[in-house]
């Protein structure tokens, strides 16, 4: 393992390759990103690393991000179509998925468990490890549905605890305009690790929440 460097604010310096390689099941990682490039870089590393390791990936993202992500994976010569057929790479539109379990602007626990359970069953297949990326929280956050966001994070956490899979969430930084510090704190405390940076092959900073 490469030597970790800890700066004065508690951020640990590593590379995305190492970070995702050593990520434990049940980790709930969050990235607060400033631009889409940084986000997609890290997400690409998260997915490609899992696929290389023979793990399955569930990606629930906006249509735009899904499209960008596919291009990046193809550039990495990732056989996403083939992997999709094998349910090793499951990609879902975030808005559509949200609609399956949101009731009165609030995530219904039963419906959520049902939707995610089905996905995990597909993704695990013959016992593959699963990594999941969810952008639904970011959508709720952007709508100002703070309670629903935190509730959804909690539902994910509860699911992680029972199903043992690694979950990655990401929020654009510009969404934290109101009560930013308090909101950020609430989001962060719903996670186990927080990541900054993430461009492929470049330094990545994270800290344990």
């Amino acid at each position: 393992m490469e030597a970790l460097k800890l700066n004065s604010e508690g951020w640990i310096k590593t590379s995305d390759h190492v970070f995702w390689g050593e990520i434990a099941p049940c980790e709930h990682v969050v990235q607060i990103y400033e631009d889409d490039e940084a986000f997609l870089d890290l997400l690409t590393g998260f997915i490609s690393g899992a696929l290389r390791a023979g793990e399955s990936v569930v990606v629930i993202a906006t249509a735009m991000h899904l499209e960008s992500l596919d291009k990046r994976l193809e550039e990495l010569e990732t056989p996403i179509s083939r992997l999709a057929l094998k349910h090793q790479y499951i990609r879902l539109d975030a808005e559509k998925t949200l609609a399956k379990f949101m009731v009165n602007d609030w995530p219904d626990q039963n419906l959520f468990n049902q939707v995610v359970s089905e996905l995990l069953v597909q993704a695990k297949g013959n016992g593959r490890k699963v990594r999941a990326f969810g952008e639904m929280v970011a959508i709720l956050w952007a709508k100002g549905q703070v309670g629903a966001t935190v509730r959804l994070e909690q539902l994910w956490n509860m699911f992680c605890e029972t199903e043992a899979f690694c979950l990655f969430c990401a929020y654009p930084k510009n969404g934290f305009t109101q009560d930013a510090s308090e909101s950020l704190m609430h989001i962060c405390t719903a996670h186990s690790k927080m990541v900054e940076g993430g461009k492929s092959g470049k330094d990545l900073f994270y800290r344990v929440v």
């Binding site: 009165n104 602007d105 609030w106 219904d108 309670g147 629903a148 935190v150 909690q154 989001i187």
Partner: protein, 655 residues
């Protein structure tokens, strides 16, 4: 109440054993509800149902649906905090069909055995009325026209309204959070204010001076009391009324009054003011000096007592009319003086009004005019005396003038008689003289051969004497006619006239071999025969008094001058004159004789040397003066003579 989630609320029966608790919760004057993490309302109390217009059985319904999107969206913002295990307190506003309503809401998390949030309690108070009142109060204070600030027990300003900030020119940051003493001009004043307030006193119109941001001072009246919570000093409530304008106006008024009193006491008059009721309310200190009594004795209606009894009725009547009609008052009267006598005074006053145009009374002066009265009387006497003198002198003058006119008339008569006499006498004398000359000539023609030498000499002497007598008679005749101002004035060309005279004198000129130079002469308005005589006499003299052995030269010139060039003392009026000179190179004369030569019968030389009657130049002078002119002679013995003739140019005679 109904419990729908038996798993969550399995212990509730132990907590809520009977209707007592239900009744108790319903009696809470607040909205209370319990919501699980799936946003399902588990139970709620009566006020909750009433506020949200719920039927009796509302448990198990979706909380977002019950409270509506407006309220739920506001709850959402705080729900994250609650889900993380913290209590959230916030205000919710909701637009209803009629109005805007406010809830003071609290979301409290409810934990399971694992300390995980399993639901939350919604507690809300309808604070619409309170909020409205607070808003109205806040609006009132924020927009109040007078300053308002709060100060805590440490003397720190914790709030101030815009009016106060604007009055002093500070921003909120420059004012709020600072100690109040920083803004007081007098530290003792704010110390006193805080002491009074902290001991429970209420300040009413406490005057103080506050410092503006620009360094100026603002006068304020502070009304303040402390908001107490039990024994706790919460904060003061200070209303700050700006009284700077009033203070400055009062100061200016005071200064103005002081100045007025000073001036009033300095001027040598009594200054007084009366109020709107006609009562005297001010008398300057001269009152005592003039009357010997205190000022107080003259105030009110006291001044009446000083009036002379004979003046009192008139003055009072006049004053009452001026006071009631608010018109100027002017009067002369007598006031009792310090010696017990009476002194004359003159008073003059004007009505006075305040800035609002309200009548305030009169202001006036009282002037001691006894000296002026005496002077006036003296002056009147002097004028009367002088007028009498003048009248007498005028009478004398008129008498003298009349006498003078009579004398003039007599003189004129005598003069006329004399002139007539001279004329008549000359004519009458010429007749026997001509006979003497004719008869003596016949005598000589007949008997001349028989005359001895002695007889011939006597005969020649008779001829000579009779010729001289003829000349004398002619000159006397000329002189008498030259004084006749009844001659006809006509346009006379002097050039032609001189030529005629030269022609008359041709023999004499030829004999003397004289040269006469004449420049261009003017055409004048004159009595022609007199001017002919004038120039004839002058040219005759020039030829007669020529120097032996020297060719006579006579020069006649003319120029135009103004009266400032005239050698006499007449009043200079810028009039133009002809200046005609007749100069010769003859024997001249002593300058001392320049005036005497114009006198009758005055001769500078013996008859044996130069013939003549001594009347010629007197005639010349008379002729020139008869034409309002001037003739002077200048000369030196041996250097010739020059006769200067000045004749006024009139519009008529100017060529």
């Amino acid at each position: 109440m109904k419990y729908v989630n038996e798993d969550l609320w399995q212990d509730l029966p132990t907590r809520v054993e009977n209707n007592f608790l239900s009744t108790l919760i319903d009696s809470i004057p607040a909205l209370v509800g319990y919501i699980d993490c799936n946003m399902i309302l588990q139970f709620c109390n009566q006020p909750f149902r009433a506020w949200f217009s719920l039927d009796g059985d509302s448990a198990g319904k979706a909380f977002p649906v019950i409270v509506g999107a407006q309220i739920f969206n506001q709850l959402q913002r705080h729900m994250g905090k609650v889900l993380m295990g913290e209590r959230a307190h916030f205000q919710v506003s909701v637009y209803t069909a009629n109005d805007l309503q406010f809830l003071d809401a609290t979301l409290s998390p409810d934990f399971d055995d694992r300390k995980k949030v399993k639901g939350f309690i919604f507690h809300a108070l309808d604070v619409t009325e309170k909020y409205r009142t607070e808003r109205a109060l806040k609006d009132y204070f924020e927009n109040a026209s007078i300053g308002l600030h709060w100060v805590n027990s440490d003397g720190i300003i914790i709030w101030a309204n815009p009016a106060e900030l604007q009055m002093l020119g500070y921003t909120e940051d420059e004012y709020i959070g600072h100690h109040i003493s920083e803004f007081h001009a007098h530290k003792g004043a704010i110390k006193d204010i805080l002491n009074r307030l902290s001991t429970g006193q209420v300040l009413t119109n406490y005057e103080a001076e506050l410092l503006q941001k620009d360094g100026a001072t603002r006068h304020v009246a502070i009304n303040s009391s402390v908001l107490w919570e039990g024994d706790k000093f919460v904060h003061t409530r200070c209303f700050t009324i700006d009284i700077t304008e009033e203070k400055l106006a009062a100061k200016a008024l005071s200064a103005s009054e002081q100045k007025f009193r000073m001036i009033a006491n300095l001027v040598p008059l009594i200054l007084w003011t009366f109020d709107e009721h006609g009562d005297c309310n001010f008398l300057s200190v001269r009152w005592k000096e003039f009357t010997g009594k205190d000022v107080e004795d003259g105030l009110g209606r006291g001044w009446n007592n000083f009036l002379h009894p004979n003046d009192k009725e008139n003055v009072m009547r006049s004053w009452q009319r001026s006071a009631s009609e608010r018109k100027p008052f002017e009067a002369k009267f007598r006031l009792r003086n310090a010696e017990g006598g009476y002194t004359s005074y003159y008073t003059n006053s004007l009505p006075r009004y305040d800035a609002g145009g309200n009548f305030e009374g009169h202001i006036g002066i009282l002037q001691n005019i006894s000296t002026e009265e005496q002077i006036r009387a003296s002056l009147e006497k002097i004028v009367l005396d002088k007028t009498d003198d003048l009248r007498k002198k005028n009478t004398e003058l008129r008498i003298a003038e009349k006498a003078l006119l009579q004398q003039n008339e007599q003189l004129e008569n005598i003069n006329n008689q004399l002139s007539s006499f001279a004329h008549v006498a000359s004519h009458d004398l010429q007749e026997p003289l001509r006979k003497i000359q004719i008869l003596s000539s016949q005598l000589f023609d007949i008997e001349g051969n028989k005359f001895s030498e002695k007889g011939k000499q006597l005969y020649y002497r008779i001829g000579s004497c009779s010729s001289r007598m003829r000349d004398l008679i002619n000159d006397l005749l000329n002189f008498s006619t030259s004084s006749n101002d009844e001659g006809q004035f006509e346009n006379v060309d002097l050039n032609s006239m001189i030529q005629e005279i030269i022609s008359d004198l041709e023999v004499k000129i030829t004999d003397k071999n004289a040269v006469i130079e004449i420049e261009e002469l003017p055409r004048i308005r004159a009595i022609k025969f007199q001017f002919h005589q004038l120039f004839l006499n002058l040219l005759n003299n020039a030829l007669k008094f020529s120097r032996v052995g020297l060719q006579p030269l006579i020069v006649i010139k003319s120029a135009i001058v103004d009266d400032s060039d005239l050698p006499d003392h007449r009043n200079k009026q810028g009039r133009a004159f002809y200046h005609i000179t007749v100069a010769d190179n003859g024997i001249g004369f002593d300058p001392k004789s320049s005036k005497k030569i114009f006198e009758m019968f005055h001769r500078l030389h013996g008859r044996s040397e130069y013939e003549g009657t001594g009347i010629g130049l007197a005639i010349c002078k008379k002729i020139v003066e008869n034409h309002e002119g001037l003739i002077v002679a200048k000369g030196r013995p041996g250097f010739g003579s020059t006769f200067h003739i000045y004749l006024p140019i009139t519009g008529v005679n100017h060529n």
